[in-house]
């Protein structure tokens, strides 16, 4: 019996683990990958925090975040994040994160979209990588127990009481039950419902959300999907906002700049999409940027562009497309990270704790996952110390055999790609009632195809196809919920743009929630907690 089980080993999960471990030794981290394979390694640009009080202020940070959320964030939650940001950065710095420094030895800061002050701390352009490796080194130092390549497949909940989880051990092919007093879900976002148009890691398949939904845990704001304006055309590899922050231009086929490069992501992405839909190409132009700045601040970008596109940032224009980058929606939590079921917490991209609302500011995600990861770990551990529980009887769980027994129909990989194309075309940067209705029918068809197929590989040992099968089931659940949420929000707000309702509508100045109540899907608009 563990005190705290944490599912997911990205920045949120590892921060939660480190802070839970300060209170109790009975902490376990489960991950379907290895910690350093988590998507957090991909974050390049940086992490927001006000350090220069002469030119910036915490209230600016709060206001910018709230403004970007299009008034769907909760001011108290945002306050908590922004006010403790400096503490968060100091914590990371003490653990050993090598933040880049300026000439006077202070932690260096750069501009990011949506703000007028230099507020983003970074470690060259490997910020996420260096944060997660440092957190991992500290987990190792603190003897934190890990079960890697174990996939969460279900929660064990009895009469609304949390008891434990079922996980699939990829290596052995067995499902095991694990019990704990509290659970923290930190499984990341759901970008892979657009799997062929996303910068996200292949593992970001919304598992935590889908599983929580099945058990009646409330989800929220699923319709808000952030597209990043600049991913490399053809591969969707991200070119960080730091490129534009350091002065890169966006130009069209005629060489004209057509949008303010430093405005919010959704606006830039939509401007690019219009060009692309008109059959034009859009390029990132870095040719005029000083070579030393590129060397010092964007070494990874330069390398990616060279390795993946075989282009030289000093000489060539770089063809780009917008790609799905971040999912604002998630498991609804309050400011203490608690979900709608007691003893179950959520933090990181999987959670919707009312900080990002309709749109997240660049650099605010890393800040959020660390800040609330720590809060979740601390609170879950504290609660667990006060809680008595007994290990329940073993529950038979036959899902793997059921999957293996299924006859082969349409390939699950084909279904996944078809789903992604449908999501991108009908629930992408622009949405309409008609398109979303079409999408809904298509998703139903994919669900049918999914039900009628299995996998070819019947082996027990390291059968990755089983995980792929489970993930696709989760992607389908989420696609449908995203589609339903997008249909219901008849306005345009932040990342959610409806061609048939182009304006913000005050009546919708509320968060959406979606919940499975006795097999019925209940959709509501509520005040941000």
């Amino acid at each position: 019996m563990y005190d705290v089980i944490i599912v997911g080993s990205g920045g949120a999960g590892l921060s939660a683990a480190l802070s839970a471990k300060e209170k109790t030794n009975k902490v376990l981290v489960i991950s379907k990958t290895y910690p350093t394979h988590s998507q957090t390694v991909q974050a390049q640009g940086g992490i927001n925090c006000v350090l220069d009080y002469e030119n910036d202020s915490i209230s600016n940070h709060i206001n910018d975040t709230y403004k970007s959320s299009k008034e769907l964030g909760n001011i108290n939650t945002i306050k908590k994040m922004c006010e403790s940001a400096q503490k968060t950065i100091i914590w990371l710095d003490k653990l050993g994160v090598p933040f880049s420094r300026d000439n006077s030895g202070k932690i260096a800061q750069r501009y990011f979209g949506g703000t007028k002050a230099k507020r983003t701390c970074y470690s060259s352009d490997y910020t996420g990588l260096k944060i997660i490796h440092t957190l991992y080194d500290n987990c190792i130092k603190n003897n934190i127990e890990f079960l890697n390549e174990h996939t969460l497949i279900d929660l064990i909940i009895n009469e609304n009481k949390y008891l434990g989880i079922n996980v699939f051990n990829l290596l052995s092919g067995e499902v095991i039950d694990l019990y704990s007093k509290t659970l923290i879900i930190a499984t990341g976002g759901y970008g892979n419902i657009y799997s062929t148009h996303t910068t996200n890691s292949v593992s970001t398949t919304g598992d935590g959300l889908a599983i929580a939904f099945k058990h009646g845990i409330k989800l929220s704001n699923l319709e808000f999907i952030q597209f990043h304006p600049t991913a490399l055309k053809g591969t969707n590899t991200l070119i960080s906002e730091s490129a534009r922050a350091e002065g890169a231009f966006l130009i069209d086929d005629e060489g004209n700049r057509f949008v303010d490069e430093l405005t919010t992501r959704d606006e830039v992405a939509r401007a690019i999409k219009i060009k692309i839909d008109n059959g034009e190409n859009v390029y990132l132009d870095m040719r005029h940027i000083n070579a030393n700045i590129i060397k010092e601040k964007m070494p990874q970008e330069q390398k990616l562009i060279k390795d993946i596109m075989n282009l030289d940032v000093h000489k060539d224009l770089i063809p780009i497309v917008p790609a799905v980058h971040y999912t604002m929606g998630g498991i609804l939590t309050d400011v203490s990270c608690e979900t709608s079921i007691k003893d179950i917490y959520a933090c990181g991209e999987v959670a919707q704790n009312n900080t990002h609302g309709a749109n997240r500011l660049g650099g605010n995600s890393l800040l959020e996952i660390i800040t609330f990861g720590k809060i979740a770990g601390n609170n879950a551990a504290e609660i667990s110390l006060k809680k008595e529980t007994n290990i329940p009887n073993k529950i038979e769980f036959n899902v793997i055999n059921l999957i293996l027994e299924k006859k082969l129909g349409k390939s699950i990989y084909k279904i996944k790609n078809d789903l992604s194309e449908a999501m991108f075309n009908y629930a992408g940067l622009y949405r309409t009632n008609n398109d979303l209705k079409k999408l809904h029918l298509l998703i139903k068809k994919f669900e049918e195809e999914y039900k009628n197929t299995g996998i070819e590989n019947k082996s027990k040992k390291y059968n990755k196809n089983i995980v792929d099968y489970i993930e696709l089931g989760n992607l389908l659940i989420l696609s449908k919920l995203v589609c339903q949420s997008a249909l219901k929000r008849r306005e345009s707000r932040g990342s959610h743009f409806r061609k048939d309702y182009k304006q913000i509508n005050k009546e919708y100045q509320k968060i959406s929630t979606i919940q499975n109540i006795k097999e019925r899907v209940e959709y509501k608009l509520e005040e941000a907690l």
Binding site: Q39, S123, Y462
Partner: protein
């Protein structure tokens, strides 16, 4: 394009060839293509698709690469990394990573609040971009015979933390790498050539040797030579028998 992949299932090890009619794709995209269109059982790891998670490292024509950053060429052979237990197809066991990092104490032992300069951070910048892709391990001749060898990435990481001004106590770290560590390395440089992040573990290890000596640790490779000389002298003078003499 024809590519051959070294497959391994529960029972056997075999080579299989696949034909792919796609130009200008990465090796990872080729593996995805095979899995989605030809043989779904093909097993490999991947994550970020952009060279930062280190999960997709494999051998292409016996050289360590990240599949997501390596362009596909005709007529290549793909194998799993060397020096690890192969679990299935291209997937190797990674459970030793954490143990090696733990043993080498690759973390800040004791934090000190000290003024950090730009140069201080730059000094550890490269080493802290290690993505734990294991490519260096795959090439290391010492690791191939001694699984207790701390090896290139762990040692690079130790240097990263010993050079970190925030660390107040380097002794424990230096202590941890004396046995099965810096002195066991042959300085062959394979790891340096293999690293996709251009980290030079060989030089990092030499730096750690220097730091160790400066901190009063002795170089056992010199000791053993002394010992050998004494041994020879002893034999020469006392028994007249020298196995190495002509």
């Amino acid at each position: 394009m024809i590519i051959s992949i070294n497959r391994r299932n529960d029972k056997e090890n075999y080579m299989k060839q696949y034909k792919i009619d796609k130009e200008n794709i990465s090796t990872l995209e080729a593996l995805e293509y095979i899995k989605e269109n030809i043989d779904s059982t093909l097993t490999y790891r991947s994550g970020c698709k952009s060279g930062s998670c280190g999960s997709c490292s494999i051998l292409v024509n016996d050289k360590e690469v990240l599949a997501c950053k390596c362009k596909l060429n005709d007529d290549i052979t793909i194998k799993p990394l060397k020096n690890g237990t192969i679990i299935k197809d291209l997937v190797v066991d990674l459970e030793q990573t954490a143990k090696l990092l733990f043993k080498s104490k690759a973390f800040i032992e004791k934090f000190q609040d000290i003024n950090i300069k730009k140069e201080d951070e730059e000094l550890i910048d490269l080493q802290s971009t290690c993505i734990l892709c294991q490519s260096c391990y795959s090439t290391c001749p010492v690791y191939s015979v001694n699984k207790d060898f701390l090896g290139p990435f762990a040692l690079t990481r130790v240097l990263r933390y010993t050079n970190d001004k925030k660390e107040a106590n380097n002794t424990k770290k230096l202590d941890a790498i004396q046995v099965n560590g810096i002195w066991d390395c042959t300085l062959c440089g394979n790891c340096t050539i293999a690293c996709p992040q251009f980290i030079d573990s060989k030089t990092d290890i030499m730096n750690l040797r220097m730091k160790s000596v400066q901190n009063g640790y002795s170089d056992p490779t010199i000791q053993s030579n002394d010992f050998l000389n004494e041994f020879n002298n002893y034999n020469d003078f006392n028994t007249g028998f020298n196995p190495n003499s002509f």
